[in-house]
């Protein structure tokens, strides 16, 4: 049953993404000032939102683990961090491509870019820490603490951005600006692609979560086997 649900979810995500790609490339017109390149934006912003949501959930799951000490929260936190990083990479890479065309440079030490990169590094560190701790209880506890620190520092870095001067374009979505800066058709497409990416992230989370749980079962069985020798 669960298998079939996952296959179904996977199929839906793929079809949705294909449909979105079709609209993005063949239906929607070029943007007035930027031309064709603006299309990376349909992955740039939804990728960022997806990654940010993953970071937030990783913090929540980790806190839940520390409160309840139930294994499922630990495996969920590990899985969601791993799922979030590719979306963070999507955000960074599309941003770099866009920057190369519009700004003429691949990278600039702009606070927003820097903080996105720092966040990715911090969460990569979280995964490294997990790998390095052999004992499952200690791994769950220490990486949960690290995830909370990571989230606090991502928020801190993000907030301190507002104090720095930035070269990055300002907010465009109508909820932030009150409308007027973005074509409604484009905003609608953004929402579509965000849902597609979230669906994909949900699917990946379900798969990785199960793998994490299996992995822990195997580790425990190995210990049990050792106790008989």
């Amino acid at each position: 049953m669960r298998e079939k649900l996952l296959y179904g979810l996977g199929l839906a995500a793929i079809l949705y993404l294909v449909r979105n790609l079709y609209v993005i490339f063949l239906v929607l017109p070029d943007e007035m000032a930027q031309g064709a390149i603006y299309r990376v934006f349909y992955f740039h912003l939804p990728g960022y939102f997806t990654a940010a949501l993953c970071y937030l959930l990783a913090g929540i799951f980790s806190a839940m683990y520390l409160i309840t000490r139930k294994w499922k929260w630990d495996s969920l936190a590990a899985a969601i961090t791993e799922v979030g990083l590719p979306f963070a990479a999507m955000n960074l890479i599309t941003g770099m491509i866009w920057g190369r065309i519009i700004w003429g440079i691949w990278w600039t030490w702009d606070p927003r870019l820097t903080s996105a990169l720092i966040s990715a590094l911090i969460y990569a560190g979280y995964l490294m820490l997990r790998q390095a701790i052999p004992d499952p209880t200690e791994r769950a506890k220490n990486s949960a603490v690290m995830a909370i620190f990571a989230f606090a520092s991502v928020i801190f870095t993000y907030k301190s951005n507002e104090w720095f001067r930035t070269q990055h374009p300002g907010p465009v979505l109508s909820i932030r600006t009150g409308g007027g800066t973005i074509d409604p058709q484009m905003e609608w497409m953004l929402a579509h692609n965000l849902f597609a990416l979230l669906l994909l992230a949900g699917l990946l989370l379900a798969i990785r979560w199960r793998q994490e749980e299996r992995q822990r079962e195997i580790e425990s069985l190995r210990r049990e086997a050792l106790s008989f020798s």
């Binding site: 294994w71 499952p136 822990r216 580790e219 425990s220 210990r223 049990e224």
Partner: protein, 203 residues
Amino acid sequence: MQGSAVMLSAQGVWRYFGDFPALRDITFEIEAGACVALLGHNGAGKTTLLKLLARLAAPQKGTIAAPPLTDTGYLGHGLGLYEDLSAIENLRFWGELHGAAAEASTEWLKRVELDHVAAAPVRQFSRGMRQRVALGRAFQHFPKLLVLDEPFTGLDERSVKLLQEVLREALGRGSTIVLSSHQIPEVMALATRTLKLDRGRLV
């Protein structure tokens, strides 16, 4: 229960490594003044249980009732001494943390005949000398509860005698002792009762 108060008790205690239960449904009560020998093979869960009793870890299920840490003396596998500090500095440090009087450390060193090297760094001590200093860590503040993990293992002859002596004194004062050991004769000479663990279960 008959007349003597319960010093230490465990109620349905479980402790896991991952999904693997290292301790399964442990329940017992230990009366004040008892000397309990904890027996069992390697990996049976002795160290895990003693760590729970010394509040180094908490059980995932069940409860443990034990006296506060100021009234507990714990000896693990390590000596718990700082190599760069002198014998007296080491004992004073641990004594202060447990709220022992400053003279207690000096008296302990006198007792184990190390007062002449009290100011020398532990780094320069022989193995036997270190052991005699380290025992003071658990005994100098006269705790009501002593939790000792394999205390006789690796001790030289003199330290074994010393340990038996201070354990008897502690019992004489009414302290409660829980200790695990492979050296069955040394322990059985003192024990009033035994608990045996087999693969995480009390048997």
